[in-house]
């Protein structure tokens, strides 16, 4: 298929003026419309132009898992394809099953097919390096180390739903707001990944906001990192012995983004505690399931309002606007109060 990286309205104008093939334009417009609602709107637009376009069927869900065999080459050796049953290797199945839960959540709750909104394969690689204490989003796929037992328990990263959903959400952020991974915009990138990491775990467990632990990576820490989880959205700064996350702007940690590993891209994993706490406050004030109104507000802000260089204040205003548009003044008021409580508004 031809890939037009142009806004839908531009495509349609070009098509109307006969400058590009109508059929291709219509296909591209529909393909680039990620969310269900936009897809429907674009379909209506295309039909109103009288174009006989063959509209694309909804994307198929596809998940694949590779094995780096303790090396650094990505993606590695294919272990489980989209239609394969379980593999003998637990790490492969863990990465597959958690990607499955995350894909289903984005599709069923948010109307989004995969990271790009168009059914891109969810690709995971397990057994990256030897005893590697990390998981990351590489720009096109997820990568999981086994953990050394010192920082992360062996085998715990791909097995934790909140960790996997966190990494996949970095992919969603990349294809939506594209928040730059530095300082406040980077901390927002981190926070949105934590929010959906926790919400998707809650969805999997069927928990209400009051029942949830609001932890990222609960029980996955190794022997050198005493604590109960990687991060706490309810009580930032209390998850483990080296947790320095603030819960209020008064305690914002201003680190430079200078490539020094000691500075964490300008404190992206530290200051995310502030927007994390704001989401927790919204979810508990609204009550019930966090994946209903709260997650829909946060997703709408990400997909339609936040931009590459958005700062905390922009995120606050975006979520207030999304709450007002989707639900009205009461919900907008709850969101505004939460950002005030953490000192952003």
């Amino acid at each position: 298929m031809v890939c037009f990286i142009l806004p839908t309205h531009v495509l349609l104008e070009l098509a109307e003026r006969g400058e590009i093939d109508l059929r291709e334009a219509a296909k591209a417009a529909v393909a680039s419309a990620g969310m269900h609602a936009r897809r429907a709107a674009v379909t209506a637009l295309v039909q109103s132009l009288g174009v006989e376009a063959e509209l694309m069927p909804p994307p198929q869900e596809r998940k694949v898992v590779y094995d780096a065999q303790h090396g650094v080459e990505l993606p590695g050796v294919l272990r489980r394809g989209p239609d394969d049953g379980p593999h003998a290797d637990k790490a492969v199945n863990d990465a597959f099953d958690n990607a499955d839960r995350t894909y289903d959540f984005y599709r069923d709750v948010l109307g989004r097919h995969s990271v790009d909104g168009n059914g891109a394969d969810l690709i995971s690689t397990v057994h990256y390096r030897r005893g590697f204490d990390n998981a990351f989003w590489e720009g096109t796929q997820m990568v999981y180390g086994d953990g050394s037992g010192k920082i992360f328990k062996v085998g715990s990263l791909a097995a934790d739903t909140s960790v996997v959903a966190h990494e996949i959400t970095h992919g969603v952020v990349q294809f939506t707001a594209g928040l730059v991974y530095s300082k406040q915009s980077g901390a927002l990138n981190e926070s949105w990944a934590d929010v959906f990491g926790s919400v998707i775990k809650q969805h999997t467990l069927g928990q209400t906001a009051d029942q949830a632990d609001w932890l990222l990576g609960a029980g996955i820490l190794g022997t050198q990192l005493p604590g109960r989880a990687l991060r706490s959205m309810k009580d930032p700064g209390t998850a483990h012995d080296f947790d320095r996350q603030p819960a209020h702007m008064d305690d914002y940690v201003d680190l430079p983004d200078n490539g020094d590993p000691r500075n964490d891209n300008g404190g992206v994993h530290i200051n995310s505690g502030i927007p994390n706490k704001a989401f927790y406050l919204v979810a508990t004030a609204v009550g019930g399931h966090s994946w209903e109104k709260p997650a829909l507000i946060w997703y709408d802000a990400l997909a339609t309002r936040l931009q590459r260089n958005s700062q905390f204040k922009d995120a606050a205003e975006a979520t207030v606007a999304s709450a007002k548009e989707l639900y009205g003044d009461d919900e907008a008021g709850i969101v505004r109060s939460a950002w005030r409580e953490v000192g952003v508004l």
Binding site: D133, N134, F136, D243, N265
Partner: protein
């Protein structure tokens, strides 16, 4: 660099990552058996730190710094996660060396 007989110290600092923590591992030839010290010197010579470069940041990707100190001074290679085989070999050796010292802590000063 690192060709002499004086003490040589190599430190690998990892940061960023999913946890955002900073872990550092150091080895010093003055604390190593002579065979190990020779192995470290050989790996430092094979690692061409000039090849290391900073890529675009990727979410939760680790940032790595290698610090090499000897009589001639200090050389630092920043953000060297995607490294040449020689540098990777040096890092792996340091992180599994006998008599290494390890530290883990939060980011920041």
């Amino acid at each position: 660099m690192a060709g002499g007989r004086g003490p040589l110290k190599v430190t690998v600092v990892r940061g960023g990552g999913l946890a955002g923590l900073v872990s550092s591992t150091a080895v010093d030839t003055s604390a190593l058996a002579s065979a190990d010290a020779a192995a470290l010197r050989a790996r430092v010579q094979r690692a061409s730190l000039a090849d290391t470069q900073a890529g675009a940041p990727q979410p939760d990707r680790e940032l790595v710094e290698i610090l090499i100190e000897d009589d001639d001074g200090a050389v630092t290679a920043m953000n060297a996660d995607e490294l040449s085989p020689g540098v990777r070999e040096l890092i792996e050796w340091v992180e599994s060396a006998p008599d290494r010292t390890e530290q883990l802590g939060p980011p920041g000063p």
